[in-house]
């Protein structure tokens, strides 16, 4: 059929691969039972060649970049000679191909006339996979055995026949089997979609050409990536940041340290210097550390690079074993998402020294995990899992976004009215908070609060938050954002809670989370006073902060130019900067 030049055939093939991966993702979204999948989009769809090399990934969660190759490798190494038509594999064990237990990988080999031609893969975050805390997401578990059912690479179907033993074991170990199997059906259905569509492609082009095109697609991604990387100046940079604590060793900060070396058309990312693995469940698999590293670099490359193995080839990621970046048994990891987000902040901090004009200041530190679970009067389980994040750091050319998913996720918020209709919860507030964003020529994004009132008799509330003690940093003179806050009973006793905790919650009790404000970029004294006035009018910044941080004096809603000039000169003098600090973790003390 196609007889013209290869670049054409190739482009068409590339479009069809992406559309298969995206269609798989749409199938998951539309059939999913849990808000975590539909709204938080906490899943990944991927398409691999017959050897398990990643060819295309759906546009879902950047945090899952690079998760699929590891899972495929685990299946290949275990079942090398026993992969048959009609098989479907699954796994969730982070020590054998997985990321953390809630993420169940479903992998289906695809055959054409008896030959294996590809693999379809979907990993979905299930709301509960057993273990000691509803939601299977607790930050304060201390070994993987507490975190739920652990599934090594196994056949869920063998030559079309379901593995009843496994299905029954799952059924008995998870708190909400209907939900679990409903979402699992969505995964199977997505694999089925991929199989049907891909076989059409094979039939059209022929097996040999299709296999070659899949290899070409990874080579292409590599070429595009290397071209983009070459344009970045060579250099070696490093950055340090801290996680508040792990929720078990309260108040003990955890160090993240990364060194990035850019040479020619490659990147080396090394996490040497990062803290030893911790007791609580925020340890990473190496695959998750890689995902963060790939994602951060991807953000600074100005090119449309297909997400596949070719891109990964340009980036070498290493982390010493036994660290929080590359855990060893029996480290727990259910809440490791937090570490991934914080690694993004750390990577961006390093990259800001390499390409200062392309990197934003620290965002909110990633999402806060909120789970509430328990049983109603009839002993029916309820489980609510929510992830929330939403501010961007100030950028070298514009303000940080207010109310937008963190760059490492693309999560939507679950609608308040749906949460209330389906869970024993009332949401009392979900809106921006004043004076929390880091000041800057381009200010950080304004964070919001989210307030939950529990309406069932009793349950367990589990929170995984961060950035209480270590604020989101500002860049090139931009001030840091304000920290996150956890408050129990905000209208009554108003108890400040630690960043991570698990507590019993009773009817009528209220929990309020305030997301951290993002860091600013550039000197606040260079911010257009009209933009400051606008923020004041919109009650994102108070008059006092406008005056103290930005040196802007307002008369009613108007900027008093002269007074502003004077105030700015005064701040400049008090601050005594000889040059703009590259990174600011605390506001300058000018004795205001």
């Amino acid at each position: 059929m196609i007889e013209e030049a290869d670049p054409v055939l190739f482009e068409i093939f590339k479009n069809s691969m992406h559309s298969i991966a995206d269609e798989m993702a749409l199938t998951v979204v539309r059939t999913s039972y849990s808000g975590v999948l539909r709204d938080n989009m906490d899943f990944a769809t991927a398409f691999c060649d017959e050897e398990g090399t990643l060819v295309a990934q759906g546009l879902t969660l950047p945090g899952h970049l690079g998760s699929v190759p590891t899972a495929l490798a685990a299946v290949m190494s275990r079942y090398q000679n026993d992969i048959n038509e009609g098989d479907v594999f699954c796994l969730n064990d982070p020590y054998e191909g997985g990321m953390h237990l809630p993420d169940l990988f479903v992998i289906k080999p695809i055959f054409h006339e008896g030959h294996r031609v590809a693999f379809a893969c979907v990993s979905s975050h299930h709301v509960d996979t057993g273990g000691r805390v509803p939601g299977s997401n607790a930050a304060d578990s201390t070994e993987i055995y507490q975190e739920g059912l652990r599934i090594p690479p196994t056949k869920l179907y063998a030559e079309g026949k379901p593995n009843d033993t496994l299905f029954r074991i799952i059924e008995k170990n998870v708190r909400a089997p209907t939900l679990y199997f409903g979402d699992l059906r969505g995964q199977l259905s997505a694999c089925h979609t991929a199989e049907t569509q891909f076989l059409e492609v094979v039939n059209r082009y022929g097996r040999e050409i299709t296999m070659k095109l899949m290899r070409d697609l990874t080579d292409y991604a590599e070429r595009v990536a290397r071209a983009a990387i070459s344009k970045i100046p060579d250099g070696k940079v490093s950055f340090e940041d801290w996680i508040d604590d792990d929720g078990v060793d309260h108040g003990r900060p955890i160090r993240l340290f990364v060194t990035i070396e850019k040479i020619g058309d490659t990147f080396k990312v090394d996490w040497e210097g990062t803290a030893k693995q911790v007791k609580a469940a925020i340890n990473n698999t190496l695959s998750f550390t890689k995902a963060a590293s790939y994602a951060a670099i991807r953000c600074i490359l100005q090119a449309d690079i297909p997400t596949n193995a070719g891109f990964f080839r340009c980036i070498d990621v290493s982390a010493p074993k036994g660290t929080i970046a590359n855990m060893e048994l029996p480290a727990p990891c259910a809440a490791r998402g937090l570490t991934g987000f914080r690694m993004i902040d750390c990577l961006m901090g390093a990259l800001s020294q390499l390409v200062p004009d392309r990197v934003f200041a620290a965002s909110d530190g990633g999402n806060t995990g909120i789970s509430v679970g328990g049983y109603d009067a009839n002993r029916n389980p309820f489980i609510f899992v929510d992830f929330t994040c939403g501010t961007w750091g100030g950028r070298p050319w514009a303000d940080g976004l207010d109310g937008n998913s963190n760059i490492y996720a693309n999560m939507a918020s679950q609608p308040v009215e749906v949460i209330e209709a389906e869970n024993p919860l009332e949401i009392l507030a979900y809106e921006f908070i004043k004076d929390r964003c880091g000041a800057g020529k381009f200010r950080g994004g304004a964070p919001y609060c989210r307030e939950y009132r529990f309406t069932e008799t009793e349950g367990v509330l589990q929170i995984r938050a961060d950035r209480q003690r270590f604020k989101p940093y500002g860049l090139y003179g931009g001030y840091p954002g304000e920290p996150s806050v956890n408050i129990w009973d905000p209208d009554g006793n108003s108890t400040i809670m630690p960043p991570k905790f698990t507590e019993t919650v009773k009817k009528g009790e209220i929990f309020r989370h305030e997301v951290a404000g993002a860091g600013g970029w550039g000197d606040p004294l260079e911010r257009d006073p009209a933009a400051v006035a606008k923020d004041v009018r919109n009650e994102i910044v108070s008059r006092q902060r406008a005056f103290e941080d930005y040196g802007v004096v307002l008369q009613a809603d108007k900027v008093d130019e002269k007074a502003t000039q004077l105030k700015r000169a005064e701040i400049k003098r008090l601050r005594g900067w000889s040059k703009l600090p590259a990174v600011l973790r605390e506001k300058p003390n000018i004795g205001a």
Binding site: E4, T27, R30, A412, V416, Y430, F432
Partner: protein, 696 residues
């Protein structure tokens, strides 16, 4: 000829006017749009037609209108200064949106600014829970405080959307009465009246959009009506809605959110009628212009409908997975998928050495290289010219001259040489790449919804639709293409064939097996009685009213619904059982699986579509073409691939297709050019359509 029906479709560049006379005669007029006052072009255009064809204004009985006034107001942010009242603790629902962005890894992403800035968003201390119980009553005093604040800010319109008002609207109605009392002349939109459905962001956004465009749409419609009357046209004015139905001017002014995607709907409406009249079966519509290509579907005589869409978001996203690019509007609309590919799309070579087409476009100015208006970047239209598909001298009946030599030179240098290809090889390649981009739009409405495009006929229109139809069909394995008459102005034609339509909905959230059937029955009954009243006001006797029920359901626990038709009549357990079965089947069709029978199904929203049927519908015809048995007028060289090389092919007019013509050949018309590739055959059907059929 004693009565006329007029269809007017306004685009950014042209205003298309179509007149249909009761004796079956059809007149088409294309005039330049008057951007400062769209109504003027309509009035002047009609005057010209009357003069030219010796008609009088009094013959016009009905004017049917598709307009982009409302969507432009949003895209250009020129709507009213709007205030928004929300619940305490929820001031930023409109701005926080769903948090999601349409692009990954893009630090330069910027959210579309909220239509109501924060200082104009106020909240009131009140609370209703999800069961509809008042937890904290709203006082009149509190309501007055909020409304006064907005009045003091001199807003021109007010939107009201409170949390859980879908379950109990009493606080919203209290605010309504306060607004009516304190500011009797101020337009307002209440979410309980606009969209009584669950999900606060969707409802807030929709209500806000309605409030935001209301003053501008009202003013425009008043100007238009006054202009029509001034030129002696005393006719009924109907507006095309995004859902493919017409609505009287009064309801359009009240609920302008329903006419946002008025423009592109017309073509799909025309295609639907065509499918019915010419018995074409199920269609995929493909509407390709200069900058975008849109796909939709007509199935079992109905449009595919979407329950929501993003104004201005379609092209940016590139994938339906990625949302957040535009302004979310939750109203039923014809399900159109759009990609940024058209005749003006730029052809380039990316850093990986692949041939890329779009999404950037040369626009109307400077346009393609061949227009010779200063454009120096190769476009899809230039590729078509090089291949011999476009007339090498001029298009649009000679009114646009083309520069062939300049185009070839530039194309060779910028595209062909770097790829090591000849100009024609590269041009053909670019066409195929453009097609593969546009296929995403077709897949979005077909395979992504579980439909196999090979079982559909492709109905292609728009300025570039006929040019690309065969390429799309080949790529998708579609065997039959229909090119309707006057494909370049087909959207205006569609207006003539639409019915008046009103949509109603109500969120219930009940388990089908546990609910009292009466509860559902009463919800439908109430909507049906409202609908009947509305249609009566619109001038439809009961015999010309058609009311059809649908329901949106999901498996309990799922968060996305599927909408299926429901039986009319008394709601009892049998009817609910039927509904449940339809849902299982639809779920299986769309997603390839169904849950077991004991899995509870939840009914989320009941809906009603009310139609006023066109009494003259049966007489409607398509423009006639005088048969012309003459042989071809011209011929030219064209290129269809290496195996055949350059060959001399014939160029026909549409009317000479009364005899089947074998491809390769070209069909040239005033407003479009159709490519008939090798291995296919083109023939005119009774309704004046070109049928292009691929040989087995």
């Amino acid at each position: 000829m004693d009565s006329l029906r007029v269809g007017v479709d306004i685009g950014g560049t042209f205003t298309d006017i179509v007149l249909w006379a009761s004796n079956g005669e059809v007149i088409v007029k294309k005039v330049s749009s008057s951007v400062d006052d769209y109504a003027r072009a309509i009035i002047n255009g009609l005057d010209t037609v009357f003069e030219e064809y010796k008609l009088t204004a009094s013959m016009v009985k009905q004017v049917r209108h598709g307009t982009t006034v409302a969507s432009n107001a949003i895209l250009e942010r020129k709507g009213a200064k709007t205030g928004l009242i929300g619940s305490k603790g929820f001031r930023d629902v409109l701005e926080i949106r769903t948090l999601r962005m349409p692009r990954l890894y893009d630090l330069a992403w910027t959210k579309p600014p909220a239509l109501v800035e924060r200082f104009l968003r106020v909240t009131v201390d009140e609370r209703v829970n999800s069961a509809g119980d008042v937890v904290k009553p709203l006082t009149v005093k509190e309501g007055e405080r909020a409304v006064r604040k907005l009045i003091d800010e001199k807003v021109e319109s007010i939107a009201v959307c409170l949390i859980n008002s879908y379950a109990n609207p009493e606080h919203e109605f209290l605010l309504k009465s306060v607004i009516e009392r304190l500011a009797p002349d101020l337009p307002f939109s209440i979410s309980a009246e606009v969209l009584p459905e669950i999900r606060e962001y969707e409802r807030t956004s929709t209500t806000t959009i309605n409030a935001y465009v209301k003053p501008i749409v009202s003013e425009y419609l008043e100007t238009l009506e006054a202009g029509l009357i001034a030129s002696g046209i005393n006719a009924e004015l109907l507006l095309m809605q995004s859902n493919g139905g017409l609505t009287p001017v009064e309801t359009a002014a009240e609920l302008p959110m329903n006419i946002i995607e008025s423009g592109p709907a017309g073509g799909v409406v025309g295609a639907r009628l065509l499918a019915e009249k010419a018995k074409l079966g199920d269609l995929i519509t493909f509407d390709m212009g200069g900058t975008t290509a849109k796909a939709s579907m007509v199935e079992r005589g109905e449009y595919a409908r979407a329950d929501d869409f993003e104004v201005g978001g379609g092209i940016l996203a590139g994938s339906r997975l990625l949302t957040g690019a535009g302004y979310l509007l939750k109203t039923q609309a014809i399900d159109l998928a759009e990609v940024g590919a058209g005749g003006g799309s730029l052809i380039s070579i990316d850093s990986g050495g692949a041939l890329a087409v779009g999404p950037e476009s040369a626009g109307a100015f400077p346009g393609p290289i061949c227009y010779d208006l200063g454009g120096d970047k190769p476009t899809v239209t230039d590729a078509n010219l090089i291949l011999g598909y476009l007339n090498p001298h001029a298009i649009a009946g000679g009114s646009v001259k083309l520069n062939f030599e300049k185009t070839v030179t530039a194309f060779e240098q910028k595209v062909a040489a770097p790829l090591g290809l000849t100009a024609e090889q590269a041009a053909l390649g670019a066409r195929r790449v453009a097609a593969s981009n546009m296929i995403r739009a077709i897949k979005a409405v077909s395979t992504e919804r579980g439909r196999d495009p090979r079982q559909y006929t492709l109905c292609a229109f728009g300025g570039n639709g006929p040019m690309f139809a065969s390429e799309m069909a080949l790529e998708l394995g579609i065997k039959k293409i229909i090119i309707p008459p006057a494909p370049g102005v087909f959207s205006a034609f569609g207006l003539l064939y639409a019915d008046v339509e009103h949509h109603y909905s109500k969120t219930l959230r009940v388990l089908l097996r546990e609910v009292e059937p009466e509860l559902i029955g009463n919800a439908w009954k109430k909507m049906e009685s409202n609908a009947a009243d509305q249609l009566k006001r619109d001038g439809f006797e009961p015999k010309n009213q058609s009311l059809s029920r649908t329901a949106s359901l999901h498996y309990k626990g799922q968060t996305f619904e599927l909408t299926v038709p429901a039986e009319s009549g008394r709601v009892d357990n049998a009817l609910l059982y039927q509904l449940e079965q339809s849902f299982h089947s639809e779920h299986e069709l769309v997603y390839g699986h169904r849950a077991s029978d004991d899995e509870p199904v939840e009914l989320v929203t009941v809906r009603l579509i009310a139609k006023g049927l066109d009494a003259n519908g049966d007489q409607l015809t398509f423009p006639k073409y005088e048969p012309n048995n003459g042989e071809t007028a011209t011929s030219r060289k064209a290129y269809f691939g290496q195996s055949t090389g350059w060959q001399e092919i014939r160029v026909f007019s549409r009317s000479s297709l009364v005899k089947p013509r074998q491809g390769p050949c070209i069909i040239e018309e005033y407003d479009a050019t159709c490519v008939v590739p090798p291995g296919s055959e083109a023939v005119l059907n009774e309704d004046g359509c070109i049928c292009l059929i691929f040989n087995e």
